[in-house]
Symmetry: C2
Subunit: 233 residues, 2 copies
């Protein structure tokens, strides 16, 4: 697979970049393909590169000493990841692990290169900053959710968010289909796969969703919204 400078325009942070800059970025990058289940990088690795997902899908997780992990976000094509470690001063390490959910390919950009580029190109630093602020907002919202809402509401919210993200891609004729295992949903919401399974079964009985192996189809988004708002029970 070859990537042209034009492709990079799909990356939010590079939308305003000139063609020369995009060329320069490509020259300082390498293409890395990762098989399903393998890792782009692991939490604690030295952050030499930041990545742009070109194809496939990946997830960003963080683990505690115990090995328990939480899912921080799902990564879709043309999104940047690994930027946290890569933009810190000096030699920093990744605070999270990035794992491919399907066979994927990515563009690995040298951290030092991007950092030097930002020093002289305000728009990159500015746009990257805006991207960071949106992540903070999302993390703060999820943090509040985890602290104040019950499992039911958090899982409903997670499905709503996921449906919103992939709904752009899929036609929602017969509902919006999501490809996540119970375990993955549990890691997104800070609960266990057992509790997720129970909730999904319950909601299927009520006709709000349909379930399958590693698959959840949202039939009545409105039903989820009600649960998320705590109007149930």
């Amino acid at each position: 697979m070859t990537i042209s400078p034009k492709d990079l325009k799909q990356v939010v942070v590079f939308q305003r970049a000139t063609d020369e800059d995009l060329d320069l970025i490509l020259k300082n990058s390498i293409l890395r393909s990762i098989e399903e289940g393998s890792f782009f990088f692991m939490q604690g690795d030295e952050a030499k590169y930041l990545y742009i997902l070109v194809s496939g899908q990946a997830k960003l997780t963080q683990s505690n000493i115990n090995g328990q992990q939480v899912n921080l976000r799902t990564i879709y094509p043309w999104q940047m990841f690994g930027a946290l470690g890569a933009t810190r001063d000096g030699s920093a390490t990744y605070p999270a692990t990035a794992q491919a959910l399907e066979n994927s390919s990515s563009l690995a950009i040298q951290s030092t290169f991007l950092r030097s580029m930002m020093e002289t190109r305000p728009y990159i630093a500015f746009d990257l900053m805006q991207l960071m602020t949106s992540y903070i907002q999302e993390m703060q919202a999820r943090y509040r959710e985890l602290a104040t809402e019950r499992v039911e509401q958090r899982v409903a919210n997670a499905l709503i968010r996921l449906a919103g993200q992939s709904g752009i891609r899929s036609n929602k004729e017969a509902g919006i289909e999501l490809s996540f295992s119970r375990q993955e949903v549990a890691e997104m919401t800070g609960t266990t796969l057992y509790t997720v399974s129970r909730l999904l079964s319950d909601w299927e009985r009520k006709g709000i969703i349909k379930t399958g192996r590693e698959k959840i189809t949202v039939i009545q988004p409105h039903g989820l919204v009600q649960i998320a708002e705590g109007l149930e029970k």
Copy 2:
């Protein structure tokens, strides 16, 4: 109270600013004094200004529809806050509420002004981006903590963090004294004031801390670290 450009050097994001820039910033700012308990801004307000705390202390909280609130961070002098809403494009709103914990004064900088300034001065956008990355890292870590650790560990971690922050300021002869109510600690850790009270009583019996009305004195930080790591029990 008057603020000189030199004072602004204490602000992380302005460390590299020229004297003219600092002057310019001051010219586009206003000084606002807020009494203990009052608000700099509330969640949902239009984000016309971003703030720098000049004196006093404040806290940043987020509430759900229900009114339950979580404490996102405590703000000390020369720290910036309200920057999230203020740096977004167009007319954005604050995602959180900022309340004075003591009589405080702050510098309110026009969002539009700072935004235009960043477009031409890479170092401000860059440094602000670095500040944002550090917040993301902290939020991610706290999120993981909330999702995977038990209350005991989270409260111990919160005290360690707080001691680390204010410990710089206080001499730790007879322990590090923290001025937070049980309620406030509960809001920082996603639990209830009752559970916090029980834990603190328990730790006081063990000699790890001393407690008082709206006061917690850390005697043996090491004891807290052990609890935070889950070595207890």
